[in-house]
Symmetry: C2
Subunit: 274 residues, 2 copies
């Protein structure tokens, strides 16, 4: 690991969240430490001039060109930032220009388009899905379960709740989740309220030792968290999911983004995306 620290600016006329996420992925490819400064809502020439001063100040102070990722739709604002004593990565025009040629259509250059517009079906779906997922977390409610897009099942602490919230927030997918508990294993059948939604069920499982670690953080030394009990619950849950023909995956080494992506591939939900 190199010890230099390079300054990175994220400059956007909106929130800059997309540019930030993308630039993190790119910069993670370099074994250099970066210090990030995000300048969101740069939507006037005045704010652009302020940003320009700040970038040039950093360049002078450090003796190195800052790296600047921009998503600035407006040409004049973009031109101001392009004067900076910096390496500017223009994420907008780099892709829009060749697309205009290929699609034989001019881009609208609408600033409002680039960030999340709240007056869209897609945005309303996301907010509605968040509320739905909160109301249907951890088997809290059977109300309106028929309007769920997916119902996650699995033992307590297998990753159901964050996955549901992610599916709702990112995709507007209405996700409920139901814990599989020792009572269910003793009865040997799925909770009856889930039976009728079998085509919406998706299972999460997790390695018993990882589950035990997670549960011990919450309830140290409890039977609930013990490795023996975790082994029992995981084995029973996996056996039940096999028996009931539920598609499932192991969350042990997967991020919520990876789990959500896999679920979407399996359940094939068609949601409007803009």
């Amino acid at each position: 690991m190199n010890h230099q620290v390079r300054t990175v600016f994220i400059i956007s006329d909106g929130t800059g969240i997309t540019a930030e996420t993308f630039s993190h992925s790119i910069l993670a490819q370099f074994e250099i430490r970066f210090k990030q400064i995000r300048l969101p809502f740069i939507n006037t020439l005045e704010k652009a001039s302020q940003a320009l001063l700040e970038i040039n100040h950093h360049a002078e102070k450090s003796g190195e060109k800052p790296i600047v990722f921009t998503t600035l739709v407006n040409e004049e604002i973009n031109a101001v930032i392009n004067q900076a004593n910096a390496m500017v990565m223009d994420m907008f025009h780099t892709f829009v220009a060749p697309l205009e040629l290929e699609l034989k259509v001019k881009s609208t250059h609408a600033i409002g388009q680039f960030h999340q517009n709240i007056d869209t079906e897609s945005y309303r779906n996301r907010i509605e899905a968040i509320n739905f997922s909160l109301a249907h977390d951890d088997g809290q409610s059977h109300k309106n379960l028929e309007s769920a897009d997916v119902i996650l099942v699995g033992v307590s602490r297998s990753g159901k709740t964050p996955t549901c919230l992610y599916l709702a927030m990112q995709y507007g997918v209405k996700s409920a989740n139901y814990p599989l508990i020792p009572d269910d294993f003793e009865r040997g059948v799925l909770p009856s309220e889930l039976k009728k939604y079998q085509n919406k069920l998706f299972g999460l499982t997790i390695q018993a030792n990882r589950l035990s670690e997670i549960r011990n953080e919450r309830r140290p030394g409890s039977k609930y968290a013990s490795l023996d009990n975790c082994r029992y619950e995981v084995n029973e849950a996996e056996a039940m999911m096999k028996r009931e023909n539920i598609t499932w995956l192991s969350s042990t080494h997967k991020s919520i983004e990876e789990i959500a992506t896999t679920i979407l591939q399996v359940i094939k939900i068609d949601k409007p995306t803009d």
Copy 2:
């Protein structure tokens, strides 16, 4: 609006979520309808060949080149997709190549780096923050409130919960939220448990007519949802926030991304980002 529908592929060796979000922003600049096909986890030459067939099949069927956004770190896999009869927008190499020159360092070309790695402090913080935000939603718990990064206050249905969850999920920011209710307005002071955390408080407000609309979806015709009551609550909440010197914003026309970005600018939390 043009009536043609153009096929767009998102091809990634990870989830493709970053590429998907970014491509939506770019494509929203064009008044053309797009049909998106996301092909995640393309991390072997075999999967790349399958993807190539699928792209070429679409090209042939539609008589038009599909648009392909890729974030493929591996050169060989990338080379396969580049053979496609398509317009390929290589989001990875487009930016990595000039960065290698500027930084005078070779990129690691590590696939694992490009998507969310769960063994990082940043990922653990996000999961912990989601759990924290759920436990501290709607004033549910005063426990560990001192470890909150921010505490949102505002009338019921002003947007506190989705904003807290977004802050937690995207940034690992531990966000609690407290409703301001008519009891508080009658007493004329902040709930006592909040007083000691005044430097963590951030307010959300909302236009009374919009609030009334939102509440009427939940409880149609109720006093709670009536315009008069919403006006009363909003006025009282804003007066209280002024009196208590709490920074606040109106959520009426803002997405949760915009609200979260503004809050982060104000509270200046320093969290590790990779």
